[in-house]
Amino acid sequence: MNRMPLLLTGIFLTFFSAWLGLVAMPYIHLGRFKPQVDDVTREETPPPFSGEALQGATIYAANGCIYCHSQQVRPLEAGADLERGWGARRTVARDYMRDKVAYFGTSRTGPDLSNIGARQPSAEWHYQHLYQPQVVSKGSIMPAFKFLFEKRRISGQPSADAIKMQPPDEAEPGWEIVPTREGKQLVAYLLSLKRSTYPLPEAPEETPAK
């Protein structure tokens, strides 16, 4: 192996083969999904995100939620996700066609969020959880995201957005805790995560044995 052309050709070809297989092929097969359109209602699945939810996805990224939370539901053959009730079926590539960037995740220090919008549909729950996770999830090691909220003096009418916390997290009398714009966007994103609540032909529902 003393000749440069031979060495370089080999270095190129081995890598190129993988590039074809793992970049080009996925692009061809997974890069051009179209939504499934219901023949009656003309409803599209997966449904598009609202503008606010898409903004929320960048807040999700900025604060690194992905380092503890995944967004993928494994089938029965590959894990206990369905048995944990994280979805009615596995997720497949098409479920992510609406995302700008998909946060599949590789860690489950926190639970999977593929369907968190269906599992926890209450915005109030999410606000309380983000403000002080231990309040709604005792023993959780999730950090508080108080910087997504603003504690401010009530001037005139209390804000409709103000969240209700219990002591010791409660705001002092005359003060209120309201989510910032980022906080609202993040919750809008979380509430829109309903990745396997609609049927797709390539992902049949599976029923856990128990």
């Binding site: 092929m25 089938p75 029965l76 590539a93 049927p199 032909p201 390539e202 992902a203 049949p204």
Partner: protein
């Protein structure tokens, strides 16, 4: 062969260094400037040529064989629409349509076509549009009449749950396939507080055939009431009214 850091070899290197320092042989190298680390370091690495053991090659070949078999078994036939490793796991439907139950399909059709009058609650609108929830026309044991209404429409006064309504129910015969009409009826007979049995699409097909003559002319209530419960339709499964425990709803009787 001596180690670079071996004190025995350090002596030798010192010797070299001293020799060069004292003798000026005209080499272009001014070794006195060389750092000790450079002087004592070993030559650049070279290659030995031991052969590769046969057992190594053999076990690698076995491993490759295993991997080939693995790919054959668990690569989903190299089909990009197959997401399951285990052959047959999840029984993927391939590119086929999603199987939706007639009830769910009916709900969608109802939402898309019927709620503007009969409302999502199935309660209709007082004085204007008759209710479907609890309606003797819907859950009664004469589904042939219900099918007939949906196919060809209904005009004029009609009494539902004791209230008289005067309206015009549209004919859907040309809009919907048998399957869709069956789905809608299955939905409205099973939704809300209604617990009547589903309507099979064969029943709709049969009724469509039997009421061919009515095409283009909406029924009147009197015409429908004259229509006896159809045993053929009942046999197809549309007629078993409320399941055990529920009141068996009677179809409206002709006055």
């Amino acid at each position: 062969m001596s180690l670079p850091n071996d004190p025995k070899s350090v002596v030798n290197h010192d010797l070299i260094e001293d020799c060069f320092r004292e003798s000026e042989l005209g080499t272009e190298v001014d070794v006195t400037k060389l750092h000790g680390a450079i002087l004592r370091e070993m030559g650049e690495p070279s290659d030995g040529h031991e052969p590769i053991g046969l057992w190594v090659v053999g076990s690698f070949a076995l491993l490759a064989l295993f991997c080939g078999v693995y790919l054959g078994l668990y690569a989903g036939g190299f089909d990009s629409t197959n997401y399951f490793f285990t052959p047959g796991a999840g029984k993927p439907g391939g590119a086929g349509p999603v199987q939706v139950s007639p009830f769910d399909r009916g709900k969608k059709l109802y939402t898309a076509n019927c709620v503007s009058c009969h409302q999502a609650t199935g309660l209709g609108q007082a004085g204007q549009f008759p209710p479907l929830d609890g309606s003797e026309w819907v859950i009664g044991d004469a589904p042939n009449r219900l099918i007939a209404i949906l196919l060809h429409g209904l005009n004029g006064n009609v009494t539902v749950k004791g209230e008289v309504y005067n309206g015009a129910m549209a004919a859907w015969e040309s809009t919907f396939k048998d399957e869709d009409i069956a789905a809608i009826l299955t939905y409205i007979r099973g939704a809300w507080s209604n617990k009547a049995s589903p309507v099979p699409k064969e029943a709709v097909a049969l009724m469509r055939e039997k009421t061919k003559a009515q095409k283009g002319t909406p029924y009147t209530a009197a015409q429908l009431l004259a229509m006896p419960p159809d045993s053929e339709i009942l046999k197809l499964g549309g007629g078993d009214a409320a399941p055990a425990g529920g009141d068996k709803a009677a179809a409206p009787k002709p006055k």
